[in-house]
């Protein structure tokens, strides 16, 4: 009997385990779709509505502000969705539900469990960002769009999702469960407002110290690359700098994040 190994006992088992875990995550997301949409869309939707529509209608912003705001909000959605997808479940799963144990005991390397989380975060981040496109049309009437900017647009979103996932991995493995509230106040809010989603970075020259602060937030480079893709007429950081900084930030965040993941997964 031992000679007749079933065909599914081989190295492919590891990838099958990876796919099964991803399937589980997608299955849960699908079944909780309204909750997922509310979680990822509500915040950018209100920002878009208030800053893009309401303030514009009251003539409190200059014409064209909505056009430079919209790419910034896409960047925000991209980064924060990926981050939320990873950070909160990870804190809970390592902290008290211990749900992750069953996946850590699946026949695949521990790094695959982390990689699956990152891939899932990217998927959710893409879905959330793409949903923002029709939402933008609905609220603003029209959104800035350039087909020639598509490669940069996709690259920006992808790297944005990875940066968010890197933050999520880091936060999810560093933050103690009892400190989960601090994640909101100390990490989310500063990230949200220093990521140049509501203003273009070069225009901050008049507020030099804040320009320096925002330069330290990787989300800034996501916002700027998306502006470069969709509204290149607005002054922005050159795309190659954005992509380079993002790749560097991703390398750092992922290295530390995966290390943290291993520390929590294996004693």
């Amino acid at each position: 009997m031992s000679a007749v190994a079933a065909p599914w006992v081989d190295r492919a088992t590891e990838w099958r385990a990876f796919r099964a875990v991803l399937h589980r995550d997608l299955y849960v997301t699908w079944r909780e779709l309204p909750a997922f949409l509310a979680q990822v869309i509500l915040q950018p939707l209100f920002l878009l509505f208030v800053f893009g529509k309401v303030l514009g209608s009251l003539d409190l912003t200059r014409p064209g502000y909505a056009d430079l705001l919209f790419p910034g909000l896409l960047a925000l959605t991209s980064v924060l969705t990926a981050m939320q997808t990873l950070a909160f479940p990870l804190v809970a799963e390592f902290g008290w539900t211990k749900e992750i144990e069953d996946r850590l005991m699946a026949p695949m390397p521990t790094a695959f469990v982390a990689a699956e989380k990152v891939l899932f975060a990217i998927v959710r981040s893409f879905v959330a960002t793409l949903i923002m496109l029709p939402v933008g049309v609905l609220i603003l009437g029209s959104i800035p769009w350039r087909w020639s900017g598509l490669p940069l647009f996709v690259a920006g979103l992808f790297l944005g999702a990875l940066v968010g996932a890197g933050f999520g991995l880091l936060m999810g493995t560093l933050v103690q469960p009892q400190r989960i509230n601090l994640l909101f106040s100390l990490v989310f809010t500063p990230l949200l407002f220093t990521g140049c989603s509501q203003y273009p970075w070069p225009s901050l020259a008049r507020l030099r110290w804040f320009q320096v602060v925002t330069a330290a937030n990787p989300m800034t480079y996501v916002s700027e690359s998306l502006r470069g893709a969709l509204v290149p007429s607005v002054p922005h950081i050159p795309p190659w700098i954005c992509l380079l900084v993002l790749v560097f930030a991703i390398c750092v965040l992922m290295t530390v994040g995966v290390k943290g993941f291993y520390r929590r997964a294996i004693d």
Binding site: T13, E101, D102, P107
Partner: protein, 410 residues
Amino acid sequence: MTRPRGGFLRTAVDTEKGTPLRNDAGRRGCHGQPRLGDEVAEESGDRLAALDRASRERIRVPNVHPRPYDFEMSGELPTDGPAVEVVDLVKRYPKSPVNAVDGVSFSVPAGEVFGLLGPNGAGKTTTVGMLTTRVRPSDGHALVGGVDVVGDPVGARKQVAVVPQRSNLDRSISIRDNLVFHAAYHGVPARERLERADELLDQFGLLDRSGDKPDFFSGGQSQRVMIARALMHAPRVLFLDEPTTGLDPAARLFVWDRLRELRESDVTLILTTHDMDEAALLADRVAIMDHGRLLALDTPEALIDSLEGEGTLELAADLPADGAVLEALAGLSGVAHVEPVQMHTENGEAPPPADSQPLRVRLYLTGDAALLVAPAAAVLSEHGLALQDVKLGTPTLEDVFIDLTGRTLR
């Protein structure tokens, strides 16, 4: 502080529980087991069999045996050799001055039920953690199903399943989905995993709740779901960490029944417990652990037999007695030690002085307790006392632990 080995527990239990004297009488109370009819027979005979009888009377459990798996998990692996082999395993945590596991070695043949018995903090869970790839050993090595847990953790994970102490069920999905996805992680074919999930849910009495999410389950139910989940991928070795800690008596008996059924299958069971009843009832062999070290390893019977005393004999007479009686009893051949037993009053008042109460003594014996009943009764009658009550007892695994460490398990 030094105290006579063994004697401490016995007196302590007597005083605390106020029950007639045998140390395991107090424990039975803890487990909520009914006092069973024929006491002498029960005390001297197979207490566990009686426990089992009681459990089956109280809960009707269908005796289902898992059908053989349609799929073969371990075809590529050696089928002979021990299921688990541990050599000089050490776990040292960075900030701890002592080793959590300190040079443990043992080997578990396939199909055995192996119990790791010890108090909390003995290193049982850490040992299981290392065998299940979740804790990295500091030294030594461990093989599960012939696979090195450090060298090939993925291969090792294919071999094992873990039922942890606390629920780690996936709360976002139903218990049926918990089983099905677990099997999918392990690559069980789709049709097989659906069939098997229903089958196991049925065996574990959960079929009617298969659509519910784990949040609505009690501790005992979660435990059952986790054992069912663990069996989904036909593991070679199933680790159970304190499988019945915190469960009510009925749930505990149900889990015990399921685990005993698993003995009939090929799966090797490794269970950690601090409950000697559980170890004695379920395990073929028991390893006693304390402070990260393995103190003894043998069948429960052999461990108990290794104790000097073969049993205890408890006598109650109709009248108070003086020291002369005790001396005469101690002089009987086969008596190692005599200890007067003090009865507690029901309402917690201080007991009357021992010499004003009818005599009650426990004899610790080196030989068979039954053979000493008549000589002891003769001694009593020589001193003008009539024998009123007799209890024969056998030592338990807890006595073995006390003998090895001088401490109780709890």
